[in-house]
Symmetry: C2
Subunit: 214 residues, 2 copies
């Protein structure tokens, strides 16, 4: 069975930024209000950890559910896992997601700073160094026949795109400009030399870009 | 790994018919012009067997591609396979699809009239009798870990829905009324007692209904 490396739900501004400058503990998206980027997803009925009934249905909800479909492992950059930089001053930090992270699979955090694996709920975090290709190989093996999600952030996705390791991408473009920070691309058209694309506008205001290759 | 039974690309009229009356060799959709129902799919860039470059991108194209994703076998009713009724007068008939049918997996044709299996391209057709549950069991085994597509027609889909055997459905509702023939439902809301739903309108004029259950 063919296993894919898939990007889901990454949201960027109209000028291509997935986070503003100044990411820190209180501001995981830096200068940007997270709801300006992720509101389309957080507002859906299928958003994990949704605390109240209701929520929107439609294309946004459909794509939020695709995040989990047939995924057996996630790869993420260290900056998605933590606001800290450099060696681990404090191994107490276990991610932004509380006691039950929404991954429910092994998660491979890319970092040059080793740390023991740990488990929260049914998510186990591993800390791995090395080239993207070797991290993909580890994640594909852990995924046990299912696909691997590449979780971001933008720098990590770009690194894997440059290495030719991404099979499909879902990127939502939100109708705000940020002007600086962590950038995925200058334009969604940047990938058209390597990918096919379907573009699906949503009533919520974001435009979904779905990329795949032969 | 959980295997699903999935319905894809079934298209019905605004009054719920998937084909008009009088299905025969020259009119596989009976009284209805097939393009009035299936034009949204046939017009996409990803439509299998497309003879010319071009074609539409967007939600229609995305859903046409979902037809193939992670599918390891198809189940279809005898009326989807053939315009003939009753015992096989002529085993020369090998389906509507020419030398390279667009399935590329084992296909289980439900019929009370036995016939030897045969292979065209990389699609093998098997002819099976029995209850839907036993046909699903055979198809799941043949699918080798992947999902099973329930291909239709409408009567077959209804039979499997009534038996509780369908996990997800994609049904496109086209903006024409037919008034009689092979009916899937009286309204897309008929399934809301058993399924969640996302509704996604397409610029092509059809409205996609995506159903799943817990």
């Amino acid at each position: 069975m063919t296993q894919l490396v898939r990007v889901h739900n990454v949201t960027v501004s109209s000028d291509g930024y997935a986070a503003g400058e100044g990411q820190r503990l209180e501001r995981p998206f830096g200068s940007v209000d997270p709801m300006d980027l992720m509101g389309w997803a957080v507002g859906t009925a299928s958003w994990p950890g949704r605390s109240e009934p209701g929520g929107s249905r439609g294309i946004d909800d459909h794509l939020v559910r695709e995040f989990h479909r047939d995924i057996g492992a996630e790869i993420m950059g260290r900056n998605k896992f933590s606001p800290h930089r450099g060696p681990w001053a404090d191994e107490e930090w276990q991610g932004w997601w509380g006691d039950d992270p929404p991954f429910h699979t092994p998660v491979f955090v890319m970092t040059h700073h080793p740390r023991p694996s740990f488990t929260l709920g049914d998510t186990t975090f591993h800390f791995v160094a090395g080239e993207p290709a070797s991290v993909v190989a580890q994640a594909l093996e852990a995924a046990d026949g299912k696909d691997v999600r590449l979780g971001g952030g933008a720098d990590t996705v770009r690194q894997f795109l440059n290495a030719g390791l991404v099979d499909t991408l879902h990127v939502a473009v939100a109708p705000i400009a940020i002007g600086g920070g962590s950038r995925l691309w200058t334009s969604p058209d940047d990938l058209l030399d390597r990918y096919h694309r379907d573009v699906v506008p949503s009533p919520s205001g974001v435009v979904h870009h779905l990329f795949w290759r032969d």
